[in-house]
């Protein structure tokens, strides 16, 4: 018979990780599940509600509106940041003293705390005193992001593009740098130019890092909270109230823990589902012979 030693000691080595994951993921998640099926008025008194909260959230117009805003925002962000990031990465120098200058410049926005980014852009875009706000207004365009929904969206998107395009740039740049020279030399000899080089060499070689970039940007922008909260607070009205801002309003503003918990789980499942869809679509052709 097989000489495999059965040794339960192995469990001991896995235990720390199991505990860690339990404490920082499973237990909090279970708490949320617990809240999502009950009603509480504090004092540790709970009433069984079943799937009521889920039904309520799924049928709520408010949730639909936030979700729609969120999907629109994320789509716009991805459509701008991914091509822009790749374009910037393509223009960055591959060698020489400017490489480190470019890399540091690109990394800077990523190093700024999120609430500071919100505060910076808030002041920057103020119509009376902000450099951006004042400049736009002096061009004859009526711009006030605290009152106009369109201006609020414009500012929020601009802020996110400024803050996060660098991430796509850095990942795309890393992908570009890993392409051996022989590919470019072969392409030269094959008579390929500009677009063909991008389409058949650079893009396929960047595929993996771009998949990661798109997934990260999708998840982060889908869960955006701090910057928007500081910049617009979700306003004017509810026009920039994205999912997490809405969630916090329900959970902490109205203290509706049950519906908030149900919404969190639905939110989580949407992120999970969309991430899976993205990943599957982008990796579709990978395994083919």
């Amino acid at each position: 018979m097989g000489g495999k030693t059965i040794n339960h000691k192995a469990w001991l080595f896995v235990l720390p990780v199991v505990l860690l994951v339990a404490f920082n993921a499973v237990i909090p998640l279970m708490t949320v599940v617990n809240y999502s099926v009950q009603e509480t008025f504090g004092d540790n008194v709970f009433f069984w509600e079943g799937v009521n909260w889920y039904e309520q959230v799924l049928h709520s117009e408010r949730f639909h509106a936030s979700l729609l805003r969120q999907l629109t925002f994320t789509s716009i962000i991805l459509v701008i940041e991914v091509p822009l990031g790749v374009a910037i990465a393509l223009t960055m120098p591959r060698e020489g003293p400017w490489v480190s200058v470019c890399l540091v410049l690109m990394a800077l926005p990523l190093l700024i705390p999120w609430n500071v980014v919100g505060a910076m852009w808030n002041i920057f875009a103020l119509p009376e005193i902000g450099l951006l706000g004042k400049t736009i207004n002096s061009l004859g365009i009526d711009y006030n992001f605290t009152q106009q929904p369109l201006a609020a969206w414009f500012t929020t998107i601009l802020m996110d593009v400024w803050h996060w395009t660098s991430l796509v740039v850095l990942l795309a740049y890393a992908g570009l740098c890993s392409i051996p020279d022989a590919y470019y030399q072969a392409a030269k000899i094959d008579g390929a130019r500009g677009w063909a080089i991008f389409r058949y060499i650079q893009l396929p070689k960047m595929k993996r890092v771009l998949t990661i970039a798109i997934l990260l940007r999708f998840m982060d922008s889908f869960m955006i909270y701090t910057e928007v909260f500081v910049l617009t607070g979700g306003g004017p009205g509810n026009t920039t109230t994205f999912l997490s801002i809405d969630l916090v309003k329900i959970a902490l503003g109205q203290f509706d823990l049950g519906p908030a918990a149900a919404m969190s789980l639905i939110y989580f499942l949407i992120v999970l589902l969309l991430s899976w869809v993205f990943y599957t679509l982008m990796m579709r052709s990978e395994g083919e012979p």
Binding site: A182, Y183, A186, I189, G191, Y200
Partner: protein, 355 residues
Amino acid sequence: MSSIGLRDLRHSYLRDPATDADWALKHIDIDWSDGGAYALLGPSGCGKTTLLNIVSGLIAPTEGRVFFGKDDVTDIPPDQRNIAQVFQFPVVYDTMTVYENLAFPLLNRRVPKAEIDAKVREIAKMLDLEDRLTKRASGLTADGKQKISLGRGLVRSDVNVIMFDEPLTVIDPHLKWVLRSKLKELHQQVGSTMIYVTHDQTEALTFADQVVVMHEGTVVQIGTPVELFEKPKHTFVGHFIGSPGMNVLPCEIDDGAPLFAGRKVALESRIEKTAAGAKLEIGVRPEFVSFASEGIPVEIVKVADAGRYRIVDTRHGETHIKLLVAEGEALPSEGACIGFDPAHTQVYADGWIIA
């Protein structure tokens, strides 16, 4: 079809080359005739890839001109030079099928569809890729990918010269033989000039009609494999080609003949004159050294069995001399003496042959 002429080529990767060591190619002047199979052989860093890239146009030489036939092509970009190049690591376009890969150079040159199809199928047949035309190129093994790289050169009817930059590096040993004989076969079939860069003497000697041996940015010898073996022009060639390499022994010249260990070494020709102060050496391959009843007294240090012959390492004073002894032949026990074949003994001054 065209011959290749390299005139007074010098190349440095530095902006202001000052010393001799700054030049990757020191001075190259070569003529390659149309349709030949050539190898550039030398150790890593000797400048062979640089030379190849200058011929293909991927690098512009610092000095000198490149001629294809009568045309000066020094300033012409690679895609207009009628050349193809196969790199050390196989280059395929991952997202394309084998067919699309082979068609790519023709598509870029706006060749009509029907012509592309015919050409791609013809080359695929030649390279035994027919059954994989619709497969993705990224799924092929290294040798398959290397065939595609080569195929992208072969499909172009304008290609006169195909260059190989150590193309078998990543190929499994048992497939190296297969691919190498395929190359030989293709050379006879298509008749284009082929230049093959390698540091492997077996690859160079079996592939090429003429081998260019390079060392530290200079060409030390151009010759057929037999010439390189029998009359190395430089002690480096003697060392680098052959296994074991040539014996190089310090000597003096007296009355037109070299003196080693106080004895005259017989040569076929007489040495007329040598530059004063030059380092003088005798070069003789182990194949042309044999035990003799009288000659240079030596002591046997080591015997290594190499199958059909033994490599005997002997010593005279501080100088080691290797020789080959056929299988089954007895070795002298005491008071061994060796002699050199005069027809294959050369004398070198500062590394270069003088007789």
